[in-house]
């Protein structure tokens, strides 16, 4: 069996080159100046100081705000969905879960693009509204359209983990709670909610992570002027060409996400 030990060698080399080194390069770029040349290292904190500029701070705050709103809506919509699904027969549950998962496997870009036709000023929803006499409502290129796109795309990420923990729950615990005189609300709060906590936390982390770093959804549904962290990074690398500043933002984004994951893990009572 010792022979098999050597099988990890290719991946040790591979992961070092394609996973570890890129991260180090981002860090290196974030702390240096001088365009795209790595040969002359000129260490600086300038890139991070630049982030403190009010325009960039507001981009960060807006991203976090939209991320929190999206996560909140996903939790409010996703919990009941996961709960109702978990009340069905096993086999029906399997199919319903499959129904929730399928959209996740379809290209996010295509799913987001589809909303364009629905939300446009002369789009399908506005056409329907005008039939009942409600004038066209501008939905595209607003916070509303971006949030809607995020919720639609990321809701499954909330539903699946919550459903998994609800399904694992021992139903006799609920019966026991009723037998011991708890009412519906108490049973839900003290048993169901508590036992599904790991799923809730997992879902919150996933949705927040995705919504804070996306750049496709704000670009398509928010328009060219709509800037979130992801768009800021993209513009630095694709159009502006300031890779050092772009790397600094990316590093900060990665750190924000690592910290929020750590925090969430700490809250999670059942994590081991």
């Amino acid at each position: 069996m010792k022979h098999f030990k050597h099988l990890t060698k290719p991946y040790i080399v591979w992961s070092f080159i394609l996973i570890v080194i890129p991260l180090l390069l981002i860090a290196l770029y974030a702390f240096t100046t001088g365009g795209n040349s790595v040969k002359i290292l000129d260490f600086t904190l300038k890139n991070f100081i630049k982030i403190l500029d009010p325009t960039y701070i507001s981009v960060f705050l807006k991203s976090v705000k939209l991320g929190l709103i999206t996560t909140g809506i996903c939790l409010l919509m996703g919990y009941p969905l996961a709960y109702f699904i978990s009340r069905f027969k096993e086999r029906t549950q399997d199919f319903l879960v499959l129904g929730v998962t399928i959209p996740m496997w379809i290209n996010l870009l295509l799913r987001t693009y589809a909303w364009l036709n629905l939300l446009a000023d002369n789009g399908i929803i506005n056409n329907l509204l005008s039939m009942v006499g409600i004038g066209p409502i501008t939905m595209m290129y607003t916070d509303f359209s971006v949030t809607l796109g995020m919720v639609c795309n990321f809701l499954p990420l909330m539903v699946i983990p919550i459903h998994t923990s609800l399904r694992k729950m021992d139903n006799s615990l609920i019966e026991a709670a009723y037998d011991l005189g708890a009412n519906q609300l108490q049973t839900f709060g003290r048993i169901v909610l508590k036992l599904s906590m790991p799923g809730i936390i997992n879902g919150i982390v996933m949705v927040f992570l995705m919504s804070i770093s996306t750049f496709v959804i704000p670009k398509l549904l928010g328009g060219g002027q709509y800037l979130l962290i992801g768009n800021l990074i993209e513009s630095q690398f694709i159009s502006v060409g300031d890779w050092n500043f772009g790397s600094a933002i990316s590093l900060l984004l990665a750190i924000i996400i690592l910290i929020s994951m750590r925090l969430m893990k700490k809250i999670d009572p059942q994590d081991d």
């Binding site: 098999f4 990890t8 290719p10 991946y11 959209p103 295509l110 499954p156 770093s213």
Partner: protein, 264 residues
């Protein structure tokens, strides 16, 4: 009372599913629209599908997406599987190091992985294009293969391979005839994940490609700037392909499971 509740929960599930599927269904319907309008359905036609197959840019994008997905799936499945097998026999330190490194592309925002690879490729001086896209796809697919194969390898009885070798099998034979068949479901799940991840990828491909090499997602992204129902036709094909694969892969085990349950 109980029935009323059931109706309510059923209705809620239906509404959520409409929310999930409405945009997809609308895209599909309008791909058959005779006119260019994306809001008024004027008649059935296959016009946009015809335009799709005559558009050279789209045809080459389909070729890029499909070949990269196949190559990335094969390579990352092999790499991920041998790594997972090796990991179960490695020392604790190495195991923990590698599993942690392996988690980075899964946990990190896609855009950070993308720019990391972009900087890497331009630092080494590889010309951006098909090759860099393929390398990047293998890079983000392999971690998913490892995470789906490794638990299966860990649950294996270590004596099985030893017994095979005691009975005269070479290590390679033991691997091929004993270990691989036992972890096949994990490998299969990993490969499926790798294929769909690669086929659907936009963010990473967008940053690491160059020289006019584009996959389907990049083409769609460039086309969304103006009204173009050809995207709907392209989307429809992609969606149908993915849904068919998923249905076949998922429904078969569900039916099998419920059949087994019946027999129990």
């Amino acid at each position: 009372m109980k029935k009323k509740k059931h109706i309510f929960s059923g209705l809620y599930i239906v509404l959520c599913f409409i929310f999930f599927y409405l945009p997809i269904v609308i895209t599909m319907i309008f791909s058959f629209n005779a006119s260019k309008s994306l809001t008024h359905f004027t008649g059935f036609s296959l016009r946009w599908y015809q335009e799709l197959i005559t558009n050279k840019e789209i045809v080459s994008a389909v070729y890029v997406s499909v070949t990269i997905a196949i190559l990335a799936t094969v390579i990352s499945t092999v790499l991920g599987t041998i790594t997972a097998i090796g990991l179960s026999k490695s020392r604790k330190f190495l195991k923990e190091y590698l599993l942690n490194v392996n988690n980075i592309p899964i946990l990190n925002p896609e855009i950070v992985t993308a720019i990391g690879l972009m900087i890497l490729f331009s630092s080494i001086g590889i010309a951006k294009g098909y090759m860099t896209m393929l390398l990047a796809h293998i890079c983000f697919c392999t971690p998913y293969v490892i995470t789906s194969v490794y638990p299966k390898v860990r649950n294996l009885d270590p004596n099985l391979a030893n017994a095979a070798m005691d009975l005269g099998a070479t290590p390679f034979q033991a691997l091929r005839k004993v270990i691989l068949p036992l972890i096949r479901p994990g490998i299969f799940a990993g490969a499926l994940l790798a294929f769909t991840m690669s086929f659907d990828d936009f963010v990473i491909s967008y940053f690491v490609t160059g020289n006019g090499v584009k996959n389907i997602s990049i083409i769609v992204y460039n086309m969304t700037k103006r009204t173009n129902p050809t995207i709907n036709a392209l989307s429809t094909i992609v969606i149908v392909v993915i849904i068919l694969i998923l249905l076949v892969v998922n429904i078969v085990p569900i039916l099998k499971k419920s059949k087994e349950r019946k027999e129990d």
